[in-house]
Amino acid sequence: MKPAVLQMPLPPVEALRSNKLRARLTSPVTAAFLVSVAYYLGAKLGFALTLQPQPVSVLWPPNSILLAALLLTPPRWWWFLFVAVIPTHWASQLQSDVPQMMILCWYISNCCEALIGAGSIRYLSGGKFRLDTFRNMRFFIFGGVFLAPFLSSFLDAGFVAFNGWGESSYWEVWRTRFFSNVLATLTLGTVIVTWSDAVQDIRKTTPRVIAEAALLALGLVLVSYFVFVRQEPGGGSRAGLLYLPLPFLLWAALRFGMAGKSASVLVLTLISIWGTAHGRGPFASHSPLENALSLQIFLIFVCILLLCLAAVLEERQRSLEDLRTSEERYREVIETQTDLICRFLPDTTLTFVNEAYCRFFQRQREQLIGRRFIELIPEPDREKTLERIATLAEARGVQTIEHQVLLPNGRLGWHHWVNHAICGSDGRVVELQAIGHDISDRKQAEEAHERLAHVSRLAMVGELTASIAHEINQPLGAILSNAEAASMLLDATPRNIEEIKQILADIRKDDLRASDVIRHIRTLLRKRHLEMELLDMNQLVSDVLALTRAEARKRNIAWKSEFAPALPMVEGDRVHLQQVLLNLVLNGMDAMADMPEDERWLTVSTAGSESGQVEIVVSDSGNGIRPDRLPRLFETFFTTKKEGMGLGLSISRMIVEAHHGQIRAENNNSGRGATFRVVLPAHHVASGT
């Protein structure tokens, strides 16, 4: 069937395997031609393998050739194939003196058998058929090997009786036809079906495989020849020799799969029939009919046995191959990742690392596996990381960790990891799988931002110096006056002890007040990382307003604050959020510098929304923001102020976004002034537990 290989557009990979068959028989004309030729040759072969003097064919190939052709072609071609074999059927039968009516009957029964076999197999296997699984092989044996010959043999025998042709009885005809068709399907049918598949693989075979196949073929031919041709007829005492070809058949099945096995069986079949037909070998003892029967039974059993074996083997091998392919695919996915992937025991002992992991730490895989990766983390981060992993082992979920790592060059980097817990059958965490990547650059950027934020805080506090001095001098002034009043009261007679006590209490109170202000400023000036805590935004706003109160007074700005009651808490960094608010308040004040004094007002308010957000609104009555500047307002180094650096709002946005919030600016509807809104997600009480 090789000549039928035609060019086909490349089908998608998953469809390729099932399309292999069709790829070879692309046109019904080619298929019809091949089938009719094969049918003719098959008929000739069938006549040749007839045991003389009785016209009994041990193996009748045409039916199985037709059946195999139907299995390899789509059903819409079938009628065409049936028509195509009509001339060859007649041509082959006419040579052997068969009456015209009988030829027609044979044709009908042959077609019936092929149709029943192909139809039932296709039906059972659900359309596409391939003799490569144990399941499909069962359908093939049931439909093609058993059912079709079984039913069509009744027809055959009926036709013979109807035509009154030959001397055999009805059941004799049925039996002969049945067994010869069964054997033909088992041997020739499987060869055609499996080889149509294997043809493509042959191109890929290596010389070694070809040599092995040649050796096998040679051995098989020799052994079969020795057993079935060289042996004297009816060698009952040496019946054991029948098993001599078996090792070769097993060899074929094990090493060459279905195709190798079917070819070997066909060789054995042909040689044994040829030997028996020539009155040689163990089966040439009784009447031709009985010889044929026992040979057929022998071959059928060998065939079915090996067919099952080969199918199981093939199926197993393919599932192994599938497994290997999928494993390779996964391995490739893992190994080509730029992300680091590893598996480790709860005590951080590594059990698997991917290529990227090895590359990152510049170590061999063997140097890493079996070691605890905690050693790759700098000392200060170790305990925290171990604690986090322990919590995952308890929670059995997914977690993300960021920690520092020791780089091969001795410096420190940052890693971000997503860890999954893998639980054993008893529910305990047996292993953890983690995917990580280097975030040193991001961390550096964050640190740069933090430095920037710090500088901008310094600048803001610098701007507020006068106001802060006022805030501190207020209590200091009170303390001094109180102390001096007290010393004068101590000199006076009578001494007013009660008043002195009251004075001391007031001094204490004012002292605390002053130190409060200083502490506040110090926190604001300290350079630090984000420290998340639960914050009451109303409190935070009042703290900031306390800092800027004096400034507002200095600039003759009236303000109004509106605090929403029962505001949900927000998880955030106190200092950074204060910085944002401070920035907005100072900006608002700056915006009103040119306004008449009685038109300067600043409103700061808080609000909670249904959707779980907290909003802080800072609104001024200045000149507002030019519409063309609104979109660029939060960009770094964009400023509308003469002395501005253009950092305040961009840092504010960075801080707010680090809190998963939003900052927006808009001009007031009244046409006077602008409003800035900071929206932060509220902390969910439920998720806190």
Binding site: A469, N473, Q474, G477, A485, A492, I503, A550, K554
Partner: protein, 220 residues
């Protein structure tokens, strides 16, 4: 040490500071009254002729400078001592120009504060007596004022009579009237009173502050 009618008015929004200041001033023997805002001070009935004001510069609502201006418009000549948590030079200069006795920064030491208050009280006394003299001056007739001017310039009666075209005897009578109306016992006293009048009457006639007013900022 002071007359019982001299009161120190403390205007400061910071309650704690207000109380402390009141205590100190009370211990130093002053009578005090406290106000939490400029507005409260303005609406309170008080004897404007006596005492001084210790005024916080920065307060919600009208601030210290605005209160100073308001008092000036109302013609209340209370001496003012400014006290502030912080002060910039321009602010303190404008306060001093507008007639403040002193400009102090918190925390203020007792001696400095009491010295400033003493100076303010002296100023209050001066203001009070100047106003008295001014009132007396306004009681003089045109002819008497002309005679006074001549006397202060050190002219002889005869010269004055010749310049004004009146008899020398008439000049003597006018001169005696002036001495009596202005409570002066001698010519040098008359010159002194006249000098004081020049300082106070002229600024009240021409609007705006006069840099002439240079009170004893430092009581030394």
């Amino acid at each position: 040490m002071n007359s019982t009618t001299s009161i120190v008015h403390v205007v400061d929004d910071d309650e704690s500071y207000r109380t402390a200041l009141q205590r100190l001033l009370k211990a130093a023997g002053y009578q005090t009254r406290a106000y939490a805002s400029a507005g409260e001070f303005l609406i309170t009935q008080r004897d404007s002729a006596r005492g001084c004001v210790v005024l916080d510069l920065h307060m919600p609502g009208p601030n210290g400078l605005e209160l100073q201006e308001a008092l000036s418009i109302r013609g209340e000549k209370l001496p003012i001592i400014f006290i502030s948590g912080y002060a910039t030079v321009p602010v303190s200069v404008s306060a001093m120009k507008a007639g403040a006795v002193d400009f102090l920064t918190k925390p203020v030491e007792r001696e400095v504060l009491l010295g400033a208050i003493e100076a303010a009280m002296t100023r209050a006394e001066e203001i009070r007596s100047t106003e008295e003299t001014s009132r007396q001056y306004h009681g003089l007739t045109q002819r008497e004022r002309e005679v006074l001017a001549g006397v202060v310039e050190g002219k002889m009666n005869k010269t004055i009579a010749a310049e004004l075209g009146i008899a020398e005897r008439t000049v003597k009578a006018h001169r005696a009237n002036v001495m009596q109306k202005l409570n002066a016992n001698s010519v040098p006293e008359l010159v002194q009173i006249s000098g004081r009048l020049k300082n106070s009457v002229i600024p009240s006639n021409s609007s705006g502050a006069q840099s002439e007013i240079r009170p004893g900022a430092s009581p030394a």
